[in-house]
Each structure stands twice: as C-alpha cells, then as structure tokens.
Symmetry: C2
Subunit: 115 residues, 2 copies
C-alpha cells in the first residue's frame, strides 16, 4: 500500500532535486558508500579528542597502509574529513558540516500540522 505524503517526510521526499544538486550529493554519498570508509569515519569521529592518527586506524583493518591511505584520501577529497601532518603522523578529524548535509537530506521531518 502507498504511504501518505505526510508520512514521507525526509527533505529528499519534499521536492524534486535539481540535476546539479543530485550530482553534487551523489558524489558525497559515493565517498561514504563503502564499508571501510564508514568505519574510518566512525573511528575518527569517536576517537578521544575528536581526531585520530593513521597509527590509530590501521590496526582495525586487515588492509595495507596504502589501501587505508587511499580511503582516507577519498574522504578528505569529499570534504568529510580534514587532516594535518604533525611529526611522523597525519591526524584526521571529521568535518561536521559535510556530514550534516547528508543528515539534512535524509532527516525525518515532522508531518505538517494541517496534513
């Protein structure tokens, strides 16, 4: 059975996306649509102090360091994380504004009062 308009509530279901917005959001979504990158994001964001060193991340994966670096670069290119070299290691942190763009797209909205 069909869901009523009031129940279909996320912003993505409120108005047709433009081609430009859809292309832009698809690029951002592709960056997170990978299990390793999702885990990296969650590990970086939940690390003490809100940032993590590469040295904190690699042990959790059965992957080579260059593969982890590739995934971190994808996240960084998408603007989802920032990074900075300090001495031997590069440290990463989440950029909340980019994560919030995805949250806003899929966030439930309350049904209109007059629906």
């Amino acid at each position: 059975m069909a869901v009523t308009a009031a129940a279909c509530c996320a912003p993505i279901a409120r108005a047709p996306l433009s081609e430009a917005d859809a292309a832009d959001l698809a690029t951002l979504l592709k960056a997170v649509a990978d299990p390793v990158r999702l885990r990296l994001l969650s590990m970086i964001g939940s690390h003490a102090g809100g940032e993590a060193c590469v040295c904190d991340l690699t042990d959790a994966f059965d992957l080579t360091a260059p593969t982890i670096s590739h995934h971190l670069k994808v996240l960084r290119t998408a603007g989802l994380i920032g990074g900075e070299r300090r001495g031997t290691w590069v440290y990463y942190w989440i950029i909340p504004e980019q994560v919030a763009r995805l949250g806003a797209l899929f966030a439930p909205m309350t049904a209109p009062a007059s629906a």
Copy 2:
C-alpha cells in the same frame, strides 16, 4: 585545526561501526549514491499522494525506459521504495523507515549537556 569531540556530533562519529553494520549501511548508501536515483527518490516522495507512476518519472530524464527501470529496481531492492502494478503502470512510493536509517546515521546530535 581539530574539531572537538562535542562538535563531532552525528551518530557515525559517536562510536566505531561494526564491520557488519558498516557493510549493511554501505549497501544502502550505494543504492542512493547516484544522481538519477536521488532524483527518482525525490520525485517519487514529492509527488502528489506520496506515490508516482513510472509514467510520471520518465519525462524528466534523457534516459531510456529500461534504464529508468533499472534504477527503480536498485532502489526497490535496497528497500528504499515499494512498488505495485495497477493496470498498465507500476506505482512507487518511498519507504520512510529505510530513509530514516540514513538520516539517523548522519543526523546532527546536540552536544552533551555536560561537555
């Protein structure tokens, strides 16, 4: 500069994702990480009555009917839309629970009161 833990606020940044959860969410994200599928979702959700016929969707795209059908099938397989044939046409609607899973993952959360 690093973002503080309090500012890094979406659930994805609160605790490391398990491998199983990350794989499951990546599958769902791959289904939406495409400009045509994002536009289809937004067109279906915002259509009058919360559902749309294939006949309402194809004109907006410079794509063949089989290509549109392929994208609708990907969304349906991911559980993001439901569909039902009525006479000549198949009608589609958004499944809000699946969209809400993505919203919950990336939703901003208020900083802890004691942070």
